[in-house]
C-alpha cells in the first residue's frame, strides 16, 4: 500500500492534469484571479501611502495658544508651568510679543511695505503665544481640553489646533474613502473570480463525469475523488499570485518614480522590496484561498460521491 506522500503526489498530479487539460478555461480563470490579486496588492500600497502621509502630517502638528494683549507674562508663565507638569506634553516654548514682532520683521525683511506699515504702528499688534509639542499626536485633544479648563482661559485668545485637526481629518477621510472604494472593488472582483473558478471546476467535473463514476465504482475514497479539484482550484491561485507579483513589480517601479515627485520621502518600490516576502505570502495565501474556496463550493454542489 502506498504512503501518504505517494497519495498526495498522485492527487496533486491529478489536479495538475485537470489544470493542463482545461488550458483555455484555466487561462481565463487565472487571469481574472490575477486581476483581483493585483487590485488587492494596490490596496496594500495605498494603505501604506495614506498611513505615511497621515504620519508625516501628524509629526508636523503642534498646538499654539495665543494670548490676549492684556495677558500678563506671569499669567502666561503660569499656564506654561501647568502645561509642563502634564505627562503628555513634551515641550512648551514661550514666544513673547516682542519676540513675535522680531520674528515677523526678520521673516518679512525684504518687504518694504510691511516694514513701513509696522513702523507706523504705535503698539505691537502681535500676540504672545505658547507653542506646545505633545509626546504623542493622539494626545493633542486632551491637551486642548486641559487648556480649555485652565483658570487662565479668559486671557487666551485662540487655540490653533482645530485648524490642523481639520487638515488631518480631511487627509484621513480621503485615504479612508479610497481604501473603502478599493476594498469594495476588490470584493466585487473577488466575487467574480470565485464565480469564474466555480464555473471552471463545475465544467471540469462535468467533463470528467465518466472518470468520476469509474473512480466511485472501483472504490476511490471521497478525498481521492474530490481532492484533485481542490488542488486544481489552489493551482489557479498559485499561478494568479505569481502573475500578479510579476506584473506588480514593474508597475510599481514605474509608479514609484512618478509618486516620488508628489510624495517626497515615500518610496513605493522600497516599501515593496523591504516587505517582499510578506507581500508574496499574503498574495499567495489570498489566491489559494480564493481558488480552494471556489472549488470547495463547486464540489459540494456538483460532485456526489
Amino acid at each position: 500500500m502506498e504512503s501518504f506522500t505517494a497519495t498526495f503526489r498522485r492527487i496533486f498530479h491529478a489536479g495538475l492534469t485537470n489544470f493542463r487539460r482545461n488550458s483555455y478555461l484555466s487561462f481565463g480563470t487565472t487571469g481574472i484571479m490575477a486581476l483581483v490579486l493585483l487590485l488587492f496588492a494596490g490596496l496594500m500600497v495605498l494603505n501604506y501611502v495614506s498611513s505615511q502621509i497621515v504620519a508625516g502630517l501628524e509629526s508636523k502638528v503642534d498646538v499654539t495658544v495665543y494670548f490676549k494683549q492684556e495677558a500678563s507674562p506671569d499669567e502666561i508663565m503660569s499656564v506654561k508651568q501647568d502645561l509642563e507638569n502634564q505627562s503628555t506634553v513634551q515641550q512648551v516654548s514661550y514666544i513673547s510679543q516682542d519676540q513675535a514682532l522680531n520674528d515677523f520683521k526678520t521673516k518679512h525683511a525684504g518687504d518694504a511695505l510691511i516694514q513701513q506699515s509696522l513702523a507706523e504702528l504705535s503698539d505691537n499688534p502681535l500676540q504672545a503665544s505658547l507653542n506646545i509639542k505633545a509626546k504623542d499626536s493622539a494626545q493633542y485633544p486632551n491637551i486642548v481640553s486641559f487648556l480649555e479648563g485652565n483658570k487662565f482661559r479668559p486671557v487666551v485668545d485662540k487655540i490653533n489646533f482645530y485648524e490642523n485637526q481639520a487638515v488631518i481629518q480631511r487627509v484621513e477621510g480621503i485615504a479612508g474613502g479610497l481604501r473603502n472604494w478599493g476594498l469594495l472593488a476588490t470584493l466585487v472582483l473577488a466575487a467574480i473570480a470565485v464565480l469564474v473558478t466555480f464555473n471552471t471546476i463545475r465544467l471540469t467535473i462535468y467533463n470528467q463525469k465518466q472518470e468520476i463514476e469509474i473512480m466511485r465504482l472501483v472504490g476511490g475514497s471521497i478525498w481521492q475523488i474530490k481532492a484533485p479539484y481542490l488542488i486544481e482550484g489552489g493551482l489557479y491561485g498559485v499561478f494568479a499570485a505569481t502573475i500578479a507579483t510579476v506584473v506588480f513589480y514593474p508597475t510599481l517601479w514605474f509608479v514609484s518614480s512618478k509618486a516620488a515627485v508628489l510624495l517626497p520621502g515615500i518610496s513605493l518600490i522600497g516599501y515593496f522590496l523591504t516587505n517582499i516576502l510578506q507581500f508574496v505570502a499574503i498574495t499567495l495565501f489570498a489566491g489559494i484561498a480564493l481558488g480552494v474556496v471556489s472549488s470547495f463550493v463547486a464540489i459540494r454542489r456538483f460532485l456526489k460521491v
Binding site: 466511485r216 465504482l217 472501483v218 472504490g219 475514497s221 471521497i222 460521491v305
Partner: protein, 227 residues
C-alpha cells in the same frame, strides 16, 4: 455472503423497481439474473454497490448492513466488488494498460505493483498485444475483455456484470462468458444480469428470474432461461 432482506426500492417518480425481495447468494456462487427490461436487475446490482439505498429492507454483505456504512467504508465495500457494463465505461483518453492501472491506482497500489499486475491481467484476458491501444482502436469484444480486466485487477470478491454481452457478437460473447466462468472457478462470486438465453443456458448455474421488481423463480442448480 450476500443477503437481501425484504427489499423494496421506489424511485422518485414513484416507480417501484423492487418489491419485497428476499435473496441469499453464497460466496463463490455464479448467479444469472434474468428478466425483461425494467424487471429490477440493475437496481438490485446498484443496491450492492450502494449507489442506491433501499426504500425498505436491508442488504447485507459479509453480515454487514451496507445501508449503515459510512462514506469511507462504502469505498472499501466497492473495492471488494468489480463491475462490468454493457457500454464498457472505459476511459477514452487512456490506453488499455492505463485503463486497467487506473483502477489499481485508485485502490492505492504503488507504481511497481501496477507495473507488475497490469500486464499479467491483460495477458489473462488476451489483450497483451493491445496494451498500448486506446478504446476507440479496439473491437467491442476487446473493449469488454478490457473492462473485465479492469474489474478484476483489484482482486474483488464479487463481480457484478450488467448485460456485459449486450453489444457483442456470438464469438466475443462466448469469450467473455468463458472468462466469467473461469473467474468464478477461482472462488469469486459472479452475478450476471442478462437477456441472453444462450448465455444463461450455457452457464447452467443458478438462475433467478425477475419480473416487475419481484423474484418469480429461483432455480438453484442447473438453471435455464425461463420467463
Amino acid at each position: 455472503m450476500i443477503e437481501f432482506k425484504d427489499i423494496s426500492t421506489i424511485y422518485d417518480d414513484n416507480f417501484m423497481a423492487l418489491d419485497g425481495i428476499n435473496l441469499e447468494i453464497k460466496d463463490g456462487e455464479f448467479v444469472s439474473l434474468v428478466g425483461p427490461s425494467g424487471a429490477g436487475k440493475s437496481t438490485l446490482m446498484r443496491l450492492l454497490t450502494r449507489e442506491l439505498k433501499p426504500s425498505h429492507g436491508e442488504v447485507f454483505v459479509d453480515g454487514i448492513n451496507i445501508a449503515d456504512l459510512s462514506n469511507r467504508d462504502t469505498s472499501f465495500l466497492r473495492r471488494k466488488i468489480g463491475t462490468i457494463f454493457q457500454d464498457f465505461k472505459l476511459l477514452a483518453k487512456m490506453n488499455a494498460s492505463e485503463n486497467v492501472g487506473y483502477a489499481l491506482e485508485i485502490c492505492g497500489a504503488t507504481p511497481d505493483e501496477i507495473a507488475q499486475d497490469v500486464p499479467k491481467l491483460l495477458s489473462i484476458v488476451g489483450l497483451t498485444d493491445k496494451a498500448k491501444n486506446f478504446p476507440h482502436q479496439m473491437s467491442g469484444g476487446e473493449k469488454q475483455r478490457l473492462a473485465l480486466a479492469r474489474a478484476l485487477i483489484h482482486r474483488p470478491r464479487i463481480i457484478l456484470a450488467d448485460e456485459p454481452t449486450g453489444n457483442l457478437d456470438m464469438v466475443n460473447t462466448y469469450d467473455v462468458v468463458k472468462l466469467l466462468m473461469k473467474i468464478n472457478e477461482f472462488g469469486t462470486t459472479v452475478i450476471l444480469a442478462t437477456h441472453n438465453r444462450e448465455v444463461v443456458n450455457a452457464v447452467g448455474k443458478r438462475v433467478i428470474s425477475m419480473e416487475h421488481g419481484k423474484i418469480v423463480r429461483d432455480q438453484v442448480e442447473k438453471g435455464k432461461y425461463i420467463i
